[in-house]
């Protein structure tokens, strides 16, 4: 599956991923440096209290001298204040930087999603994609707040202490480091397993999200068909999967951290034993051993620290795999530059040509088969055909949601594959059968955030489609609040609004995909009359199964199982006596001899 979304396992090494993650700090060099400086200064300052305590004990208390104590206490107070301020600085610099990086990630991922192919969205449920923008990014927080800087600092300390240990006594140092390979093994075991479980966890989170989204969106159906119990059970299964993936990760982590501590103690015991032997053989002074023991303890503190952080780093890498996997998915339909030579856009409107177009959605047979037709500028063309005959697919191809399999589509004489996408799409206004409304206001739904549309044209559009009556009844008129998916409107009202949207955008070509299916005949007629006035001279493609909707179009195309079987005016098609004529007869039959709805009359 070229477009499916998965964590590209094993393709990238950890270091590459980590490096790529860190590159997101590049816009914030000062913050990154500042954070590191604050961490370092804070760590150095941590040494001050013990040192000052030692001075107080050695020079004052032991000596019984109280004068000068005040000065040292003052010094202590000063370092204390500095430590507090540094603490504040460290917290805010690191966390704010992390938030900035996460902001960048979110916006980048979201923007990228809006560039990906429509086919990509066919395959990936929205709920799943949401996790890429929300919780996958959240996981990165730990890496940038505590992970990177602390590990950097710990590595630094580690190097220093290794140097000191070796120079103190290389034989003891060897004894101390004897456990390092063991640690390496444990770490490798941990890293491999925890990564796997973090991957699992991310995948389960995505599944949970998808399930939540689907069930909330379809709640009415769930309730109507009494699916609460079954869906709850399924959700519980997903939740258990998520929980167990987490528990597995927990297990590795719960083993790993104590294991590292135990290994560190083994090393201490080894130093004690071997050092003790050396002391007994008078090869080493007792003081030397004690000093070495103290320093070796310091060696293991950063090691333990790093292993603590490793968890967060692994989680971040697992999330990064998924995020980068998405960011590296390229759209196949891209905004290519000028490949085409061609006619400039004429004043008379847009012409559309389908040349031997065939197309199949992923995995199924051809939905369109060798379809050819032309729509001249300003022409109004209707497309009719049974459901599933490929009518909507024609529009999907014209808008280049998908690329044709064979053949080509020309708009104003240019192959649309050679046209920048914005230029292509800026010609069309689309009204679909499934209306999509956003939470916001009526006005914001009509403009969809485009600043180019004035409030007046919004009002005009609303009035033109006959939605004025119900909109003005709402509190605030076009400023009235709209719920998510327009949940407080009737279906027909939503269709009116989506018509108004098409008018507000004032485009050259109007694409209507069963756009009046949910409004009753009167309203439909009113809309069509309004449209005729507004769209005079513009190209229109209207899909409808109600033949009355399209019968006065300049031309009617009849699709049958993906093939273009008939084309012509209403009268021509009737005369042709083919599929269209049969459909028409059927419709007239149902008009003349009304018997469509079952059910006996009370009296009969």
């Amino acid at each position: 599956m070229p477009n499916a979304l998965g964590p590209g396992r094993g393709e990238r090494s950890d270091w590459q991923l980590l490096w790529r993650l860190l590159s997101y700090l590049r816009p914030y060099p000062w913050q990154a440096a500042g954070g590191l400086a604050a961490v370092t200064a804070n760590a150095v300052l941590q040494l001050a209290p013990p040192y000052l305590t030692k001075v107080i004990v050695d020079e004052h208390v032991a000596a019984g001298r109280l004068e000068g104590l005040g000065d040292i206490a003052l010094l202590y107070l000063i370092t204390l204040t500095a430590a507090a301020l540094l603490e504040a600085a460290q917290t805010s610099i690191l966390q704010l930087t992390a938030q900035r990086v996460m902001f960048d990630f979110r916006v980048q991922v979201y923007r990228h999603l809006h560039r990906l192919d429509i086919a990509f969205f066919d395959r990936n449920p929205v709920g799943r994609l949401m996790t890429r923008v929300t919780s996958d990014v959240d996981v990165l927080n730990d890496l940038f707040t505590s992970g990177v800087h602390a590990i950097f600092f710990d590595l630094f300390t580690l190097a220093g202490i290794v140097f000191i240990l070796v120079s103190l006594d290389w034989r003891l140092a060897l004894a101390a480091f004897a456990v390092v390979p063991l640690m390496g093994l444990i770490t490798r075991w941990f890293r491999r397993n925890i990564r796997e479980s973090f991957r699992d966890v991310r995948a389960w989170v995505a599944r949970l999200n998808a399930s939540l989204q689907e069930n909330i969106g379809g709640i009415a159906t769930v309730q109507l068909f009494r699916r609460e119990a079954i869906n709850q059970r399924r959700f519980r299964a997903l939740d258990a999967g998520h929980r167990d993936a987490n528990l597995r990760g927990m297990f590795y982590y719960a083993v790993f951290y104590p294991a590292i501590e135990i290994v560190a103690t083994i090393s201490t015991a080894a130093i004690l034993w071997y050092g003790g032997v050396l002391v007994m053989a008078e090869d080493l002074t007792l003081g030397g051993l004690v000093a070495f023991l103290l320093y070796s303890q310091r060696f293991f503190r950063p090691v333990a620290d790093i292993s603590e952080k490793l968890n967060g780093v692994q989680a971040a890498i697992a999330a990064a795999e998924r995020i980068f996997g998405l960011l590296d998915t390229q759209a196949e339909i891209r905004q290519v530059g000028a490949r085409a030579t061609g006619v400039e856009r004429g004043r008379a409107g847009t012409s559309i040509v389908f040349e031997h177009v065939s197309f199949a959605y992923d995995g199924s047979g051809d939905v369109l088969k060798d379809v050819s037709f032309e729509v001249r500028p300003g022409e109004r063309v209707g497309i009719v055909g049974a459901t599933g005959s490929g009518k909507s697919t024609v529009i999907n191809l014209l808008l280049r949601f998908y690329d044709v399999g064979r053949g080509r589509i020309l708009v104003d004489g240019r192959d649309i594959r050679g046209m920048p996408l914005p230029e292509l799409r800026s010609r069309f206004a689309l009204v679909q059968q499934d209306v999509q409304l956003f939470s916001g206001t009526i006005a914001s739904n009509l403009t969809m955030g485009s600043g180019a549309i004035s409030p007046e044209s919004v009002e005009r559009a609303v009035a033109a489609v006959g939605a004025g009556r119900f909109v003005s009844a709402l509190p605030g008129g076009t400023g009235a609040a709209v719920a998510e998916r327009g949940a407080t409107f009737s279906t027909g009202q939503k269709q009116l609004l989506s018509f108004a949207r098409a008018l507000a955008f004032n485009r050259e070509v109007l694409l209507l995909d069963e756009a009046t299916s949910s409004v009753e005949g009167e309203t439909e007629l009113a809309i069509l009359v309004a449209l005729r006035a507004v769209m005079a001279g513009r190209t229109t493609i209207a899909i409808a199964h109600r033949l009355a909707t399209v019968q006065d179009m300049d031309r009617i195309l009849v699709l049958h199982k993906g093939e273009l079987r008939e084309a012509g005016t209403h009268d021509e098609l009737l005369a042709h006596d083919g599929i269209y004529a049969k459909l028409w007869a059927l419709q007239c039959h149902s008009t003349a001899n009304p018997n469509p709805i079952p059910g006996g009359r009370p009296g009969s």
């Binding site: 004052h60 917290t91 805010s92 929205v126 989204q213 769930v222 083994i266 004690l272 709805i597 079952p598």
Partner: protein, 628 residues
Amino acid sequence: MGSIRRLLPYLRRYRRAYAIGLLSVVVTATLALLAPRVLQYAVDDLGRSITHHKLTFYAALLVGLSLVGGVARFLMRRVVIGASRHIEAEVRDDFFAHLTRLPLAYFRTRRTGDLMARAMGDLESVRLMIGISVIDAANTAVVFVVALALMLSIDAGLTVVALAPLPAVSLAVRWFGKAIHARFQLVQAQLSEVASLTQEGLSSVRLVRAYGQEDAQVERFTEATRRYFARNRSLIRLQAAFYATMTFSLGAGALLVLWLGSARVVRGELTLGEFVALTAYQAMLGVPMVAIGSLTNTIQRGIASWKRMLEVFDEPEAEALPGAGRERRARVPLHWKADAPRGGLVVEIRNLTFSYGPGLPPVLRDVSFRAAPGQTVALVGATGSGKSTLLHLLPRLLEPPPGTVFVDGVDVRGLPLEILRRQIGFVPQEPFLFAETLAGNIAFAPAAGEDEGRGSGEREAPPSVELLSGGFDLRGTGTFHLGPLGTDAVRRAAAIARLEPVVETLPRGYETPLEERGLNLSGGQRQRTALARALVLDPPLLVLDDALSAVDTKTEAEILEGLRAGAAVRTTLVAASRLSSVRDASLILFLDEGRIVERGTHEELVALGGQYAGLYRRQLLRESLEVG
């Protein structure tokens, strides 16, 4: 803390795990205090006299202690955090179950992304509060008590001095805690907004593309994310100030001990050794005290998030709405039993006036009619005249006022939802399909008695501790196969809904998985699937809410023909925007702004010469004029 009390039932089920975890914390902390002692004795012995034997013993003791400590540490994390994971899953299960039982009206005003954020992100904050921070809190408490006891045994006076910053600390915890709580709530609310925008934007990606408004979408998202950042910034600054305050107050305590203590040593009231020990313990005290800062942070975030979840939990479920099902728990009519032969239902609407909310104008006004078995009642009227609203009242997707909607003589408000809804096959105006197989979408409803209902509140017993430390069982890889309503019924329903030609074109027939919302089907195919989903139940009451609006004429005629057989016995309610499809109905109700303005059969209404007749004439005119 009323809200925390609501969490206790979950915690109580895992009290054994928590007890073991706390015990492990005590062991871990104690061992951490012991290990340095061993090293100290070993070194002391080395200075005097030592044998290989003794040396080996000390080394072995060190390793032994750390092994015990390691086990305790393992248990501590595994058991407590494990319990928090189990509780997380239980809370989320309950949250989900509650969501499925909330009235539909609730979802009209709520945003999907917001509810999702509460179920995922907020629950995560709650989990941190009952997991890792329990360990931290216990650890803090243990070390605090031990260090305090040790200090007291040396010098009570100085111990009090060492504790001098405590009031300041507790004030800071209070004040900052409250502020963090408030700001975190704002942060989470904004995160909900971000999630909602993401959800909406990605759900309408096709529309956004068509109009080329990607940039506007991204801009809107960026704006919300920026606000999220800004709210986080204010939270982080607060946190920074809080941590600094804690560092300072605790350091001040250490300084006081140093200063006053050294004076006492000089005055001879304290030995040098005692003084050194005291400062060492004071340092010990400092570590867990600093943890109080992050602990407060985690807990306040957890509580804030828990309250956001409680807001949803506190919404009354549909069955428990005031008055619903309570005033008169009706007798369920006998012949509704699943095994009894199913006839139609008598539907009666009496003087129904309905509005969507207290301040809103009524959408239905004084509506009355009756539909008997074998009858078809059609609702026609302009867009927004209230047809869908009326139909939604029957299965109680909307709650009707008492005494207005009756089936078989029983007020629907007195009927348990699953029993009522089992009688009704509802085909909504905007069909919603699920990402399952086609067959799974048709056999969507559970068969009678099978896993039916709105979900029980009961749960299996809490897993044993052994399971907690294992946790390798792979439940949850559930296979979702065909529903209980066998394939025959599916085929029959699909045949009536004229889905068979569609099935033939699908790569795997009935077993073809549909994409999200069934988007790989065309609009008419989706409507027919929704119709089959209702028909497969062979319901006594069939409700078609403009259910064939996207189906082509030929197919529609075939479907109506197929429906005729069943319609003789069942009751059918139809809303239609096309007059052509309702002419044969037993009763046609013409709705105008929620009022029935005309009623009768097609012929009666045409003869009446009112609104219906006008509409019909115009439509007829339009269709036939252009034929000729």
